[in-house]
Structure formats: structure tokens, C-alpha cells
């Protein structure tokens, strides 16, 4: 079957080709199409019966016709060839080289869809990763094997934050970042792709990065394949070659929009905002590939970047993502406009795995309480700030004024830091105590009395 070319297309429309009279085609198998000019395209069987086979074409169906389209069914799912040589290479969304170098030749070819990890085989992420960014390390810590997305918006510096994490991330006690990076961009602009490439180059990690790029002007359907190809490479690096892999993916919104586009063409029933009902399952297939496995040394830590349409966190894409990922780092326009970098809005940010990766034996014994206290004090301070905006700062009590000063200092000194500033967790926690010491000790009920005595600068 692999060698027969069929010319039985009965309809061609918006990325989909219907083939008639090809019996016994496997669902999910890969397809090669040759058009009238001899150009090759690839596709996937998404519905199969003996009378009609529905094929999704990754490069799109522009300039295809019914009469002069030859289709070969390759009889296997979409597979990515893998070897050590993928390191330092740049591929397109379907895994073909786009750096002008030869394709990867390997007998080890893997289905890009992967297979679900058995929950009984998972190992729980517990190792604290220090990113050097106080707002993350101190209050929303990342652990090895976690999936922690960056929720951002147009014009916010999410790419710079992601690049800073890639440059600085390390385990405590390690000299330098020992992991490899898999970078996937879908629907990204050429400028963004170049920014990352240059940032990897400058920090000298380029030979430890595998890139999968599907840029904004490239076929939409290929976007559905890009994260899967990237994660297949990541799984190979992590669980076959024992690397700790950091996967950075941008931009999940472009991915979800591509999914919607294809779903509409397929005629799927839309759920919210026109996105298909299976958006959640589909995103989960991608995000859940992060993690650790018992008895394996490597790990996959995932930082997907997504821009929230109109900065709306309740939009289906950030909303469903938040239900799957283990927290989120939210960037905010207000802080960004005040010139605070990184503009991490800490209150809606969250790391679900933090509780098991910080504190005694991991970072420092006071870390969980300090984080909790910072959240509580800052939340309180924002309330006071709201009040001050209404009744005027001069009407405030002394205690409230101190709280306001705390908020100001917290935003400038704790959240704000340099793009090249790499703070150790001890520096972050000491800084936190400096700031908390601006508040009276009896307003700090989330930290223990012992911790107050030890660290609070105003305590007796």
C-alpha cells in the first residue's frame, strides 16, 4: 500500500482532502500528497472508512486540485527520527531540518503523539529549580518535572522572562545549568524566533538546544504537529539519554487557534468561543508529557508561554491551561507600565508543586511561611492602596502608610530585578525579610514566632 499512489480525491477544501475508494487505510496514518507541480505535502488520516478517507494536509490545500493530486498512504503514524544528533539543530514543525543541514537518519523513529504515561509510573516532582528570579523562586517556585506556564499579553516581556529562566535555571548546589533545552515556537514571528536564537547563542547554550519552529506565516495545520514533535524529542532526551530537559513552548494561543481553525473545517461542534469541546483534552495531551518517571534519571520541565487574548485570564485558552498545568506565572500590564521587570503579578500567580519542593531539606526552613506572609501582606497592601486612591493617602493611619511603603518597596525591589540579575534563593529570602521588617511583627501571623525572632529586623 505504501507504494501505490491514489488519484481518487473527491473533494478538496480548507486543509482537508477526501479520498474515495481506498480500502483498509489505518486511522491516524501518515499521508504523502503530490500536487500537479510535483511538490510533496504531508498529511494525516483523521477519519477512515472503505468509501471515504478524510485527510488533513499539514501544508494546507492551496493550489491543490481534485484531478491532479496523487496520494500515498504511508501506513504508519507521524514519526520523528531521533538520535543524539538532534542537539543543536533547527527543525520545522514536522521535524524536517530548516537549518540547511542534512536530515536526521535514524532507525529510532517515534510516533509524535506519544502514549499516555501510566500515573503509577510517575515520580512526584520535588527538586527545587532556582531560576534566579525572586518573584518565581520566592513565591511561585518551579520544581523539576513541573509544567508552569507564563500567562502574558501582547507587548509584555514574556519572551525575555522565558529566556532569562533558560539562562539562569539550575538546581541548588549545581555549578551551572546542566540541562538541555527543547524550544518550540508555533505561530511565532520571525523576530521572536530570532530573539530566542540569539539569546541562546549569547549564553553559549546553542549546542544544547533543539529548536522546532513553525512561524506565523507558515501552514496553520503544521502548528498542531509542532509541540508534539518537540515533546517527542524532549522525551527521547529525558528518558532515553537521561538529560534534564527544559521545554519552552510559545505561543500556546497560536496553537489553540490553529486547532479551532481545523476543527471548524472538520465540522466539529464548537463549545466556548468557537473552540472545540476537546480543546481541554488536546492541551492536556501536550502539557501532561512533562514530568518525571520512577527509576529514570531524566525529567521534562515545561514552560509554555501563552498570550491571553485581551489580557483576559478567563478566556478558554488560559482557563483550560490553568486547569491542567501546575500553576501559572502571570505577567501584568500595570507593573510593566511602571517599568517593573519582570512584571510578575504575584497574586494570581501560583505554583502548585511549591509546597513539596521548598522549606527544610530543599531551600530554607522559613521559605513556605515567608512566601505565604508575602502574599498575605501584599494582598492587604493592595487593599489599602485601593482605599488610598479613594480617600487620599493623608487620611490613612500610620500603620496603613507603612503598609503602602511596603507594597511600593516590594514591587520595586523584590519583584523588580535586572534582566541579568541572578539571585540565589538565600538572597531572595533575605530580601523578603528586609521588606517584611518594614511591617510590625504582630502583623505577620503567617510566619512562626521563632522565625520572627530569628529574621525580623524589628523584633526584640
Amino acid at each position: 500500500m505504501k507504494n501505490i499512489e491514489f488519484r481518487t480525491a473527491t473533494s478538496v477544501q480548507g486543509g482537508l482532502v477526501v479520498m474515495g475508494g481506498v480500502p483498509g487505510v489505518a486511522s491516524g496514518s501518515r499521508v504523502q500528497l503530490r500536487d500537479h507541480a510535483g511538490r510533496l505535502r504531508s498529511g494525516l488520516v483523521i477519519r477512515a472508512s472503505d468509501d471515504a478517507v478524510l485527510v488533513e494536509v499539514f501544508e494546507g490545500t492551496d493550489e491543490l486540485d481534485i484531478e491532479r493530486t496523487w496520494v500515498r498512504f504511508l501506513d504508519e503514524p507521524f514519526k520523528l527520527p531521533l538520535s543524539r544528533d538532534i542537539m543543536g539543530r533547527v527543525f520545522n514543525g514536522s521535524g524536517l531540518p530548516r537549518d540547511g543541514r542534512p536530515p536526521i537518519i535514524s532507525a529510532d523513529r517515534r510516533d509524535v503523539n506519544g502514549e499516555p504515561l501510566n500515573p503509577a509510573a510517575r515520580a512526584y516532582p520535588r527538586e527545587f529549580i532556582q531560576t534566579g528570579i525572586s518573584a518565581i523562586d520566592g513565591m511561585n517556585s518551579l520544581t523539576r518535572g513541573q509544567k508552569l506556564p507564563i500567562f502574558s499579553g501582547g507587548g509584555l516581556p514574556h519572551n525575555r522572562v522565558a529566556a532569562q529562566i533558560v539562562r539562569q535555571a539550575k538546581l541548588l548546589g549545581e555549578e551551572a545549568a546542566e540541562f538541555v533545552v527543547v524550544f518550540a515556537a508555533f505561530g511565532a514571528s520571525h523576530a521572536d524566533a530570532r530573539f530566542f536564537q540569539e539569546s541562546f547563542e549569547e549564553s553559549g547554550v546553542l549546542n544544547k538546544v533543539v529548536m522546532f519552529l513553525n512561524l506565523a506565516d507558515e501552514p496553520v495545520i503544521e502548528r498542531l504537529l509542532t509541540p508534539r514533535a518537540a515533546l517527542t524529542a524532549a522525551e527521547y532526551l529525558a528518558f532515553d539519554l537521561d538529560y534534564h530537559v527544559l521545554v519552552v513552548m510559545t505561543d500556546m494561543t497560536a496553537y489553540a487557534e490553529a486547532l479551532r481553525e481545523v476543527a471548524v473545517l472538520r465540522g466539529d461542534v464548537p463549545a466556548r468561543k468557537g473552540y472545540p469541546g476537546y480543546l481541554y483534552s488536546d492541551l492536556a495531551e501536550i502539557y501532561e508529557r512533562a514530568g518525571r518517571i520512577k527509576n529514570r534519571r531524566g525529567s521534562i520541565t515545561m514552560i509554555p508561554v501563552l498570550s491571553m487574548p485581551s489580557d483576559d485570564i478567563t478566556h478558554p485558552i488560559p482557563d483550560l491551561t490553568g486547569y491542567i498545568t501546575e500553576g501559572q506565572i502571570v505577567l501584568g500590564r500595570e507593573l510593566a507600565n511602571q517599568g517593573v521587570y519582570p512584571p510578575v503579578t504575584v497574586l494570581p500567580s501560583l505554583s502548585r508543586l511549591m509546597k513539596d519542593g521548598v522549606g527544610k531539606n530543599f531551600t530554607r526552613e522559613d521559605h513556605p511561611h515567608v512566601a505565604s506572609q508575602l502574599f498575605a501582606s501584599y494582598a492587604k497592601a493592595l487593599e489599602v492602596r485601593g482605599l488610598a486612591a479613594i480617600i487620599g493617602a493623608e487620611e490613612l493611619s500610620d500603620a496603613d502608610r507603612r503598609t503602602l511603603e511596603f507594597a511600593e518597596a516590594f514591587e520595586r525591589r523584590f519583584i523588580g530585578q535586572g534582566e541579568d540579575e541572578d539571585r540565589s534563593i538565600h538572597e531572595t529570602l533575605n530580601l523578603a525579610w528586609d521588606l517584611l521588617s518594614m511591617l510590625p511583627a504582630d502583623a505577620l501571623i503567617r510566619v512562626s514566632e521563632d522565625e520572627l525572632a530569628k529574621y525580623h529586623k524589628g523584633a526584640a
Binding site: G24, V25, P77, Y280, S281, E288, L347, F375, L387
Partner: protein, 597 residues
């Protein structure tokens, strides 16, 4: 024997005459498992529990002759199953880290022998009916697994095996049915998951479920046999709260269904449960816990089934006379699975793409909760707690609004509270419980007769403070009278000293009913003492600076539930703290000072 006609995602059209809706099918060369959901002439439509990539039209398919069923018998406790009751630990050992397709591993281990002790009341010749206890197996140190007669069996017990070790394969008895057929009995039996297990009659729920979480037990109680929902946007702490309930609740059996949720969360439960001790028995929690896991990346149809697998397991332990809690995280993912299949079937969507039968499916699922009298004459209960994940945190969406009509206890989680790291982020204004008066009887008897009035007083205080907070937000705290400021302060004390509860603090994580009431009574005592002073003219500003207030906020994490004497001593000393000011402001009998408002 039939064959595949068409493959469309998880739906497969088969040529399979004479099949029955609900029948299990094995499809294709890989032997994928599925379930028939429609018939049209000789063609049948099946939904498969596994990924269909690689299936081809023309491959064979056959019906298995029974609906989706679970195996019920020793070996369930401490296990982790997938959405169609495949034992994930055994699957891992057999097929590796990834779940391969078409694996056939029996749900319960076949090679393990269990020590069976027959019930002395059963002997050859006695009449046997469904649900009767044949004997028991001490499955874990804390749980005696009662071996039940399968519900539909009715007849004469011909023989019952003597005490001894038996595997699940070995027969432990024979029964002659009414029609003369002879049926073997085993340590386990099968039951179809979509059919509720029968019982003698429904009973009133009487005892509250104690979860050790103050906002739940004290303010919005749930009864054993009741049904509750936990709706909340992402990041509101739904999963943490459910895990807390699974850890600390006072039922004999806990069934945790991870339906379309994160893999790491189940790993967390799997890794932490064996280390944690049941506060009621002192045994490892894993001995009473059973997990059903269909994580979000596992096939969607099995996700739909997982909820039914979980509730059937719960009913089985109920029928043994146990109190069971089933936590389903999350029913929204289940509803989405329903929607996905409905969409592929081309059924008319009503709200947000959900099929019209969403409400009735939800209702009939929740109706499987309840306290019952079993056929054996015992009392057992299934308490159902369903998490709901409303998109965008919007409680008016279909799953939340339908659920709200069905359940009795509603623990609404709030994003605002969670953002301020007020956990558990149960919103005291949005939540409700229909079980307060029933629970009050228990609290009055077991803990303190004043529970109901104290609870009401605290809730009034919280509601009043919400009003005052609105004023403060407009004009500032200085505009309030002393009385109002003290009310606001006392409400803050209740929020921080009582409602907030840390899941990761060893002492605070679980609070016994006695501790809950002691704290509640203590904080109310502080409020009343202060109010008395304010009425005498003491300015609230002075009261707010009392060190007692900061101290009282820490009591919850300073005194564990086993050691309440020290806490009670502090509570008894509350009036002393107010004494000096009381002296100062008490009007001398001769010349009463005028109280300033």
C-alpha cells in the same frame, strides 16, 4: 463476529448484528476495548476506551456479551485503577511506563490467596439471597472485607468452604438457584457500573462527615450519605481541599476518582497516603483508600466511564456496611467527555455545546449517594463530593448550575480568597448547606449544645463585616463607629483564626470537632468581651491593639486536637485579658460615666 466499517476518533462504526447497547466489544487486531452506544440495523456504533490510531476498516470486531463491569472482591484497597478498572500498578509492571493499548490484565490479582473466614450463620441448606454476607477476609489491618453474595443470586446454599486460604479463582461455595441451576460462588463477583447496586431501603442520613476542616464541618456541614459539590476556578485550591477531605474524613473507606485531572496530583496522593495516618484509627491512610485515575491525557471515553467505576466500587463497600466517601475530581471533565462524544454523534447541543441530557445524567449520578439499609441488615453510606471546574470561574455555566440544583452542600471556592492566600478558599457567603439542622443534633450531643447558635452568631458577624467592609472601601475605616470597628476586627479574627486553615501545617491540617468548637467559642468570647467594653465606651482602637488578638490568631496551629487542655486554659483566661480595661470603663455605681458612641 463483526468488522470495522468506519473510524472517527474514539467512535467506531461496526458491522455487528445482534449486539446490545452497553455491550463490551473488542475491536481490531490490537484488541481495543469499547462499548456499544448505538444500533442501526446490522451496524453498531461503539466508543472505545483507547486511542484508535492504527485501526483499519475491515478489521474484525466482536461483542463480549456483558456490559462494562467491575470486579468486586479482596484486593481493591490501596490499589490504583484506570477509568475501566485496569490495575495501573500491574499494568506498569507488565507493559512499562507508558500505557500500551489492548493490555488485558485482570482487575484483581488472581494468584494471591486470601484468608477466608465463613460466616457461622451460613451452612449447607440455608437460604441465600443477594447481598447476604458469606464470610470475611481481613484485607488490611483496619478493614474487614465482607464477602457478599452477588445481588441477583437467590437460592439454596449447597455448600460453603471452611476457613482457609483461597484465591479468586477458587470457588468458595455453591448455590442452587430457583430454576435449579447450580452456581459457584467466589471471593469476588462482577457488577455492571451503569446500574446502581440494589439495597433494602434508603435511610435518613444522621451523622455529619467530619473532615477536620473548620469551614466545612463547623459552617457548611455535610452528612454521611449526603452529596456535595466543590466548584471553583483553577488555582482556587479545589484539589488541595479534596485531598484534605480524602485524608482526614471519618469514613472507613475513601475512593478518590481523578477524572481528567493532572497525573502528578495522583502521584502525590499515591506517594503521600501510605505515609499519613488515619487520625481516627492510627493506621496508614492507604489501607482504606482506593484510587481511580483517568488523567487528562488518557482517552476521553474511559474518562466518562471512570466516574461510574468509582461509584460502583463505593456502593460495594457500602453494601458491606461501611461508610464510604467518594471524591470525584472533576465532574466537569466527565461532562466534557460526555459533550465530546455527543458532538461526534452529531447530537443537538443545547448550552455551551453540552447535550440536552447533561442535567439528568448528573442527577442520576448524584442519586447514587445515600445512606441505606443493606440486604444484610447493616447500615452503610456513600457520600459523594464532586468537584466542578467552571470555565472562567463562572458559576452560571451549565455543569455548575445543574449540579447546584442537585446537591445539598455547596462549598464555593473563591478566586479572590485564593489570590490572597486565604485557604481553604471556601466563600462563606456563596456556600450553603442543607444539612445544618441534622448536623446540629449531632454536635449538640457529641460536642456542645450551643454549637448551632455559635455557628449562627459567627456567620452573622461575617455577614455584618461584609457590609461594613463595603463602607470602608468607600470612605475609610475612620468613618466607622467603635462598635462597627470592633465587629470588623472580630470578623477578621474569625477569618484568620478559624476559617483559614493550613493544609501543610502539621498541627493545623486536621482539627477535631472539639478543637473546632473550642476555637469558635473562644473567638466569639473575645468578640463579646470586647463588645461589652465598646458599649461601655472603650474605643475600638485600644481593643485592636490588645496582644490577645494576635495570639488568638495563632492558637489553631499551636494546639493539636489531641492536646486541648492548654488551649482550654488560654480560653479560660480570655476574660482576664479584658479585666483591666473593664475596671477602667465600668461606671462607678455612684456616678455612672456616660458611654460615648
Amino acid at each position: 463476529m463483526g468488522k470495522i466499517l468506519e473510524i472517527n476518533g474514539p467512535l467506531v462504526k461496526l458491522e455487528l448484528p445482534q449486539t446490545v447497547i452497553g455491550e463490551q466489544v473488542r475491536v481490531g487486531r490490537m484488541g481495543l476495548i469499547g462499548e456499544v452506544i448505538g444500533r442501526d440495523g446490522d451496524t453498531a456504533l461503539a466508543q472505545l476506551y483507547e486511542d484508535t490510531t492504527g485501526l483499519r476498516p475491515g478489521e474484525e470486531a466482536h461483542g463480549l456479551g456483558w456490559p462494562l463491569s467491575v470486579e468486586l472482591g479482596p484486593g481493591l484497597l490501596g490499589a490504583i485503577f484506570d477509568g475501566v478498572q485496569r490495575p495501573l500498578q500491574a499494568v506498569w509492571e507488565q507493559s512499562g511506563d507508558r500505557i500500551a493499548r489492548g493490555v488485558a490484565v485482570p482487575s484483581l490479582p488472581r494468584d494471591k490467596a486470601w484468608h477466608f473466614v465463613p460466616d457461622p450463620a451460613r451452612h449447607g441448606g440455608s437460604v441465600l439471597a443477594g447481598g447476604d454476607v458469606l464470610g470475611s477476609v481481613q484485607e488490611t489491618e483496619s478493614i474487614l472485607h465482607r464477602i457478599l453474595t452477588p445481588p441477583l443470586i437467590q437460592g439454596e446454599l449447597l455448600e460453603l468452604a471452611p476457613e482457609g486460604d483461597y484465591t479468586l479463582e477458587e470457588a468458595i461455595g455453591r448455590v442452587r438457584l430457583a430454576d435449579g441451576r447450580i452456581e459457584k460462588l467466589h471471593l469476588f463477583h462482577r457488577w455492571p457500573v451503569r446500574t446502581p447496586r440494589p439495597f433494602r431501603q434508603r435511610d435518613h442520613a444522621v451523622a455529619p462527615l467530619i473532615t477536620g476542616q473548620r469551614i466545612l464541618d463547623t459552617f457548611y456541614p455535610l452528612l454521611k450519605g449526603g452529596k456535595a459539590a466543590i466548584p471553583g476556578p483553577f488555582g482556587a485550591g479545589k484539589t488541595m481541599l479534596q485531598q484534605q477531605i480524602a485524608r482526614w474524613c471519618n469514613t472507613e473507606i475513601v475512593i478518590y476518582v481523578g477524572c481528567g485531572e493532572r497525573g502528578n496530583e495522583l502521584t502525590d496522593v499515591l506517594e503521600s497516603m501510605p505515609e499519613l495516618k488515619d487520625p481516627h484509627t492510627g493506621r496508614p491512610l492507604m489501607e482504606r483508600t482506593l484510587l481511580v485515575a483517568n488523567t487528562s491525557n488518557m482517552p476521553v471515553v474511559a474518562r466518562e466511564a471512570s466516574i461510574y467505576v468509582g461509584i460502583t466500587l463505593a456502593e460495594y463497600f457500602r453494601d458491606q456496611g461501611y461508610d464510604v466517601v467518594m471524591v470525584a475530581d472533576s465532574t466537569s471533565r466527565w461532562a466534557e467527555a460526555l459533550r465530546e462524544v455527543a458532538g461526534r454523534l452529531g447530537q443537538m447541543p443545547v448550552e455551551e455545546g453540552y447535550p440536552a441530557y447533561l442535567g439528568s445524567r448528573l442527577a442520576s449520578f448524584y442519586e447514587r449517594a445515600g445512606r441505606v439499609e443493606t440486604f444484610a441488615g447493616d447500615h452503610g453510606s456513600v457520600t459523594l463530593i464532586g468537584a466542578v471546574s467552571p470555565p472562567g470561574g463562572d458559576f452560571s455555566e451549565p455543569v455548575t448550575s445543574h449540579t447546584k440544583e442537585i446537591i445539598q452542600t455547596f462549598w464555593a471556592l473563591s478566586k479572590e480568597l485564593a489570590d490572597a492566600r486565604h485557604y481553604p478558599s471556601v466563600d462563606w457567603l456563596e456556600s450553603f448547606s442543607g444539612y445544618v439542622s441534622s448536623a446540629a443534633k449531632w454536635w449538640a450531643q457529641a460536642v456542645d449544645p450551643n454549637w448551632e447558635s455559635a455557628r449562627a452568631e459567627a456567620l452573622d458577624l461575617l455577614a455584618a463585616s461584609e457590609e461594613l467592609q463595603r463602607i470602608v472601601n468607600l470612605v475609610g475605616v475612620e468613618a466607622l463607629s467603635s462598635e462597627q470597628r470592633w465587629t470588623l476586627e472580630a470578623a477578621g479574627l474569625i477569618k484568620e483564626g478559624l476559617l483559614q486553615q493550613s493544609a501543610i501545617d502539621e498541627v493545623d491540617s486536621f482539627a477535631s470537632p472539639e478543637k473546632q468548637y473550642a476555637l469558635l467559642a473562644a473567638l466569639l468570647e473575645i468578640y463579646r468581651q470586647g463588645m461589652k467594653l465598646v458599649k461601655l465606651g472603650a474605643p475600638a482602637r485600644r481593643l485592636i491593639q490588645m496582644p490577645l488578638l494576635a495570639q488568638a490568631r495563632r492558637w489553631k496551629s499551636q494546639h493539636s486536637s489531641d492536646d486541648l487542655a492548654a488551649l482550654k486554659a488560654k480560653i479560660a483566661a480570655i476574660p482576664d485579658a479584658f479585666e483591666p480595661m473593664l475596671q477602667e470603663y465600668t461606671p462607678a455605681s455612684s456616678a455612672p460615666r456616660e458611654a460615648t458612641p
